[in-house]
Amino acid sequence: MGRPLIAAPRRWQAQVFVTGAAAVVLVAVVPPLVATFGQITDAKDMFAPFATGQTWGLLLRSLALSGVVTVLALGVGVPLGILFARAQFPFQGILLAAHLSVFFLSPFLPTLGWFHLFGREGYLGGPASAQILFSELGCVLALTGCFLPAVTALTAIGARGVDASLEEAARIAGGPWRAAAFVVAPSAAPAIVLAGVIVFVLAFSELGTPMFLRVDVYPALVFSRLGGMDFAPGEAAALALPLVALTAALAWFEQRLAGRRAIAALGGGLRARAPLFAFRPWMLGVGLVAAIVSIAPIATLLFHGALNGGFAEAPRWIGDAPVNTLLASSLAAALMTAVGVVLGFSLAHGHATGRWLDPVAALAFILPAAILGVGIAFAWNHAATNWLYSSVGILVVAYVARYSVLATRTIAAAMAQLPRSLDDAARTIGAGYLARLWLHLGMAPRSMFGAFALALVFSLRDLETAVLLYPPGGEPLTARIFTLEANGPPGVVSALAGLHVLITFAAASVGWLLLRPRSGA
């Protein structure tokens, strides 16, 4: 290992960029957290919610439900991600896009699609299917279907970043299956663990689907303190305290599983490589099933919308919501990506700023969205900051607060796959901070798009945070769909959900055009 040779005049680069990125995250995340937990004003707020076994029972129930969803999603999504990334079969791109599409929607909408399909009077439904749907099992299956694409996508990104020469050597020595099991999957471990954490957190904090399927969960307990008649933000904040412990547990778990260095890679994606698996007909079958499971609830919604004249009515009801959504989400995603590049680099190299900032941002992601939303309202609704609070800019703040950890982690996971010797070499020859940062981005070219896409999709599909604080007249599309859900014209909710998927695809495509790796890069 060479001696660090950062020239003194370039040290400012790291200081300026890291401080700036950290400031963005801190300004977005810390004031709402302080405002939220500052609502706990007395011992009653603190202890009363935990005095009953009901609270602990719901907490354990939610942990179990999220755990099962995570295990199922990982069990199916990891092989699927490797298949999509390292095999070659007809219509692969289309099938992957179809499979990912369900993740673009807030889970309540696909669940509504399943209801139209398997409810008692659904297109394929009857009493038995309705009984399964409205049960813990139905809730687990619905949530797994919604979150599975996150595992597939992140595993695929990780699998594509694996050192081509190592993969090729393993394939020659042990065949494609052993190469996938012992080289590709372990190399993609940081991305896979990240996917597991994301799915667990999303499943744990999900409110709409369990409420619709009449499954009691912990977030509903928190929400009852904020959405009920006795507005009790102090009690809601106290109920969120166990989630601080959960954040610490997840951070420890992730560190245990993915903290050690992954197998050294030399920058996957830098050059084209042969697929690991040659085409077999069953691959097409698996791809089709994955696509159909995701598309089925959306197609049902679209069919329901078309059947009930929803698309004809949609222009009348959609308003400015797509513009509000796209504006706030794309700007937030761009900001999160820019911040994520700096902090992801810092986190991947174990720098102090990245390490202490990461759990703070993770806590904002894990907290029930309603808690964060109310915290943002308390923190930003002042005369001095009214210019921001009363504008669509508050949605940008909310999205950055909630989802910045995802962009940072995505880039950190990709950079963690790169060999440390690369950075050592760069430092040895005196490369400055920006040059090293650029070098790492060049070696993990898809990570930026991955981070942008993830941040964008999460912002676009966000409902629970935005619905509590969107500015008057500035509602995002998700909020509009849900507020119209009450007595809206038949099919309009379904039609708007379909449009939401199309808008997300369009936005992600534009992001791809802007951020895709250039040929020869």
Binding site: F231, Y389, S391, P472, A479, N487
Partner: protein
């Protein structure tokens, strides 16, 4: 991706909130928060915009939190009010705001034609365009001669596991439970809800979901609001609507209500919107689009609902019901399991 793109991306992201802030408000506008379904309230706001030239920037409630989501936002924003007008889906929520001194009394000239029972003398709130709490019955699952007649049928063992009510922690069901406590006494209300639980009544997340479950035949009948019932009828569902307890307690009638917010940043345009909402024109529009029952004499009642004057209505003191709502929350949470 090149350096120029990255710099452009970072720059755009950095200045975004400033740019967005600049285009958020116009000179002639009013901010209205409402827990009346968006599908009904938005066309009313649009008509006001056309008539007055004042832009309405609205915040709507979701079905799940109705009406408490927007109400709690009003409370959370009390230190720096954003809203000028609150149009509530019921007459009880206003008291949560009145007690916190968040309401500016305003006697609108348009309120003169409305009954005294549905408005505050000092103008703190004014009610119009009402709904009622009804039983929505799936005719495929319930023979005509077994059609329920009152709320107590929800607890009848014959319908075990086949009925549904919305979560009483939210929405109009909160008010209904409190009104029952006022009418029957708290113990009787608790006993009734305990009977419902024993009878395995389902708890839906909203009145809209009650409608969906009844229409889909997931349950035989459920307790919901007239506007939800009307949507089922309009969609041609095989359902009937029962106004409960017409020989006994009476049906709960809930006018929507409007109030001006204290410290409203745009109080002049706020008053103009309040005046417009209380006009006969809006009651007519709400009757036609949302099957709300007009309270003003002379406005025709829509075909799918019955006129308020033909109903035996529960005798309700809305202020007392508001008190009861706050008192019953802890017990209700335990009943719901939250």
């Amino acid at each position: 991706m090149n350096r120029r793109s990255l710099l452009a991306l970072s720059g755009a992201a950095a200045v975004a909130p400033l740019g967005l802030a600049g285009c958020s408000q116009s000179a002639q506008d009013v901010v209205a928060y409402t827990s009346v379904d968006q599908v009904f309230s938005e066309p009313v706001f649009q008509a006001f915009e056309r008539q007055s030239g004042i832009r309405v920037r609205a915040v709507y409630d979701t079905e799940e939190t109705k009406s408490t989501g927007v109400l709690n936002r009003l409370i959370a924003e009390a230190q720096n009010p954003q809203a000028d007008v609150f149009w509530s889906g019921d007459p009880v929520r206003p008291f949560q705001l009145i007690r916190r001194s968040l309401v500016e009394p305003y006697v609108s000239p348009q309120s003169a034609g409305l009954p005294d029972a549905f408005k505050a003398a000092d103008g703190a709130w004014t009610g119009f365009a009402a709904r009622a709490r009804v039983l929505l019955v799936n005719k495929e699952r319930v023979p005509e001669n077994e059609t329920p007649r009152g709320l107590r049928d929800l607890a009848d063992a014959r319908w075990r596991g086949q009925t549904v009510v919305a979560n009483p922690l939210f929405g109009t069901t909160t008010m209904h439970v409190a009104a029952l406590a006022s009418a029957w006494g708290e113990e009787a209300m608790r006993a009734f809800l305990t009977e419902l639980k024993s009878n395995e009544v389902r708890i839906a997340s909203s009145n809209g979901e009650v409608r969906r479950l009844v229409v889909a035949g997931e349950v035989a009948f459920g307790l919901t609001d007239t506007d939800d019932a009307n949507e089922a009828l309009r969609a041609g569902a095989s359902v009937s609507v029962v106004y409960p307890d017409q020989d006994d307690l009476g049906v709960l009638v809930m006018p929507t209500s409007v109030m001006l917010m204290r410290g409203a940043p745009r109080s002049t345009t706020g008053r103009a919107l309040v005046d417009y909402l209380l006009s006969a024109e809006v009651e007519r529009q709400m009757a036609e689009s949302a099957a709300h029952m007009p309270l003003r004499p002379g406005v025709p009642t829509p075909s799918n609902v019955r006129p308020v004057s033909d109903l035996r209505a529960m005798q309700v003191d809305y202020a007392r019901v508001a008190d009861q709502i706050e008192a019953q929350q802890d017990w209700l949470r335990q009943w719901v399991g939250l």
